[in-house]
């Protein structure tokens, strides 16, 4: 496959590029996965909120959206970026999430030991984020687009360690961190679904 085929340098011309069938199938498949995980991420968020107690579930509850080291929410200008750049950011965020979700799971195992479904959802989310991130990277590779340098795993692990240490400051900050991480997971999976949806050729699969 030439680099030109399947290239997405011109986002405006995305819909007019003829993609190889297997690439199209890969994009559809990854988009379907992202759509499914968006639903799961919402369920995780709701379940998490429920187990922290009020005010976490109340309308208008708005703790400070403090940045989590190594991961932030999609930038306001994300949608305006070229498709490859958007997908690179999606993949990087998805790969950064699993260690953070694991930290949250460990906190919740102490705070809510009798919430097996929440703990299972957190464990599944880490696995699913990793899988979706790898799938997006595979799409980028199939498009002939390089992913951005080496995987930021050491950075992500350090961020997770920092998060774990910082939340030793108290239970409430740990609950807020978990809320933030679950929120970021939901945002990035949804963002990935949207970005892949723009690549999916119109018409039946």
């Amino acid at each position: 496959m030439s680099r030109r085929e399947g290239s997405l340098e011109d986002p405006q011309a995305d819909s007019t590029i003829s993609l190889l069938p297997h690439l199209e199938a890969k994009i559809r498949q990854t988009h379907s996965l992202a759509r499914l995980l968006t639903k799961y991420a919402e369920q995780l968020f709701q379940e998490y909120v429920q187990h922290q107690g009020d005010p976490f579930g109340l309308p208008g509850f708005s703790p400070p959206r403090l940045p989590v080291a190594g991961l932030s929410a999609p930038a306001p200008g994300h949608a305006g970026l070229p498709a490859p750049e958007r997908l690179r950011l999606d993949a990087a965020a998805l790969i950064a999430l699993p260690p953070l979700l694991e930290v949250v799971r460990r906190h919740q195992a102490e705070l809510n030991p009798r919430a097996p479904r929440l703990l299972r959802r957190l464990e599944d989310a880490a696995r699913q984020a990793r899988a979706l991130g790898a799938a997006v990277e595979a799409v980028l590779a199939a498009l002939g687009t390089e992913t951005r340098g080496p995987r930021p795993e050491p950075a992500a692990a350090a961020a997770a360690a920092a998060a774990a240490a910082a939340t030793g400051a108290g239970v409430f900050p740990a609950k807020v961190l978990g809320l933030r991480v679950c929120g970021l997971y939901r945002e990035w999976v949804s963002r990935t679904e949207g970005d892949l949806g723009q690549l999916v050729p119109s018409g039946p699969a």
């Binding site: 932030s72 999609p74 950064a96 030991p113 930021p152 939340t167 900050p173």
Partner: protein
């Protein structure tokens, strides 16, 4: 502390950033210099308290000194704003709170006590754990499946409601030697249970107890002493077959096999059978089938589907004197009794008197009686009186071997009457 490091949106293809900046993490309670924002610290952080006790807490604001003030701060507990009279300003940057007679925590992750700025933004939070220490667990019961493992169940003290997460730990040791061991597989048969899968000794007693622990203390159950052989149960009997007994319309034959895991040891096993009509929920139990592997159910309704189950009690295994523990019931097996025979041509119905209970033995004898009559006489309009006379004759005949003549009569088809003398049965 510098602002938090931006995420992937701002990263570029460079060498991985050094580790130290990654430790920049802003959480509630950690002031951010240079931002002008205020944060605060609640004291105490995450206290544990008895139900009914009081709490004195403070919220101390950090940040730009010119802007930090305790005026306008307020508290919420689990999302509900606390009455202003519970708070008081201690100094320019500290708001105090006094809560009395605390209720048990609403959730196990802790009640959320939050300090808010005037505009409602969250400055700091602390989680309260209000509850009771655990009471002594009790009612420990244990059983061993085929002498290979041990499962125990218990009841938490005070019905388990401590409002705090309480950890239960099942401990066990050999009575006269050995170290304490801790069971590791919990919740196998309910929330307060544990399973020990292996490495259990026979012919020597174990001591078993449960320890309950939470943030406010611990409690220990009484010690249960048992020998594994005294609490053995087994699998339900396999291969349960239910079949008709020839044409007998009120009987079914039940056969089964000894549970294979213990079949070489079940010298004194007991079995129990239960059965019910297909559309009924009421089981009838046949008790103490002793050490047989078959049984005949009698007194059943003709033309009826019955569900049958069998279970086993391996008592007396290896000489144990204890009662043993019943297995689960086998899977239901169904069979139907034959339908009632229709009356013969030209004959009256030979039915029990209205209102007579159709007990099994009576019906069996009546069937035999009717069978005999069909061979030797043509009878109509029979009554139980005649039947009772026959029975009485049968009993005397068995005792004395003398023939007693009945006083009833069955008219023959030709109108002649004759006395009815039963055959020797």
């Amino acid at each position: 502390m510098p602002a938090g490091r931006p995420g992937p949106a701002a990263q570029s293809a460079r060498r991985p950033p050094p580790l130290l900046p990654l430790l920049l993490l802003c959480v509630l309670g950690a002031p951010r210099a240079g931002s002008g924002a205020h944060t605060a610290v609640i004291s105490p952080q995450d206290p544990t308290l008895l139900i009914g006790s009081s709490l004195q807490a403070t919220c101390s604001v950090h940040g730009d000194p010119s802007g930090a003030t305790a005026e306008g701060l307020y508290w919420t507990l689990n999302g509900r704003r606390l009455a202003p009279e519970l708070s008081r300003v201690l100094n320019a940057s500290t708001l105090a709170l006094a809560l009395a007679n605390l209720n048990g925590s609403r959730q196990q992750s802790g009640d959320n006590l939050v300090c808010h700025a005037r505009d409602g933004s969250i400055l700091a939070g602390s989680c309260l754990y209000v509850g009771l220490p655990p009471e002594k667990p009790f009612n420990i019961s244990c059983w061993s499946k085929n002498m290979k493992d041990l499962t125990c169940r218990w009841t938490p003290g005070a019905h388990g409601e401590t409002f705090l997460h309480t950890n239960y730990s099942l401990k066990y040791k050999l009575r006269w030697y050995g170290q304490d061991n801790t069971c590791e597989e919990y919740h196998t048969v309910g929330p307060h249970s544990c399973h020990i899968p292996k490495d259990l000794a026979l012919f020597t007693p174990y001591e078993i107890w449960v320890e309950a622990t939470n943030r406010l203390g611990s409690a220990r159950s009484d010690v249960l002493t048992l020998d594994i052989l005294d609490v053995v149960t087994t699998d339900p009997p396999p291969d349960v077959h239910v079949s008709r007994v020839g044409g007998l319309e009120d009987q079914l034959s039940v056969r089964w096999v000894s549970p294979p895991a213990l079949k070489d040891f079940l010298f004194q096993a007991k079995y129990q059978i239960r059965y019910r009509v297909e559309d009924s929920v009421d089981w009838k139990v046949v008790d103490d089938v002793s050490n047989q592997t078959s049984c005949r159910l009698a007194g059943l309704k003709p033309g009826t589907v019955y569900f049958v189950q069998v279970r086993c009690n391996p008592f007396g295994i290896y000489g144990s004197k204890k009662a043993g523990i019943w297995s689960e019931w086998s899977h239901p097996t169904a069979a139907s009794t034959p339908r009632s025979e229709r009356p013969g041509p030209g004959g009256g119905a030979c039915e029990p008197r209205g209102g007579e209970p159709s007990s099994g033995p009576v019906r069996r004898e009546l069937k035999q009686f009717l069978g005999w009559l069909k061979k030797h006489a043509y009878c109509s309009n029979l009554s139980f009186r005649l039947y009772d006379q026959w029975r009485a004759w049968m009993q005397k005949s068995h005792k004395t071997r003398n023939q007693h003549r009945t006083r009833g009569s069955c008219p023959r088809a030709d109108g002649a009457r004759r006395e009815v003398l039963p055959d020797k049965l």
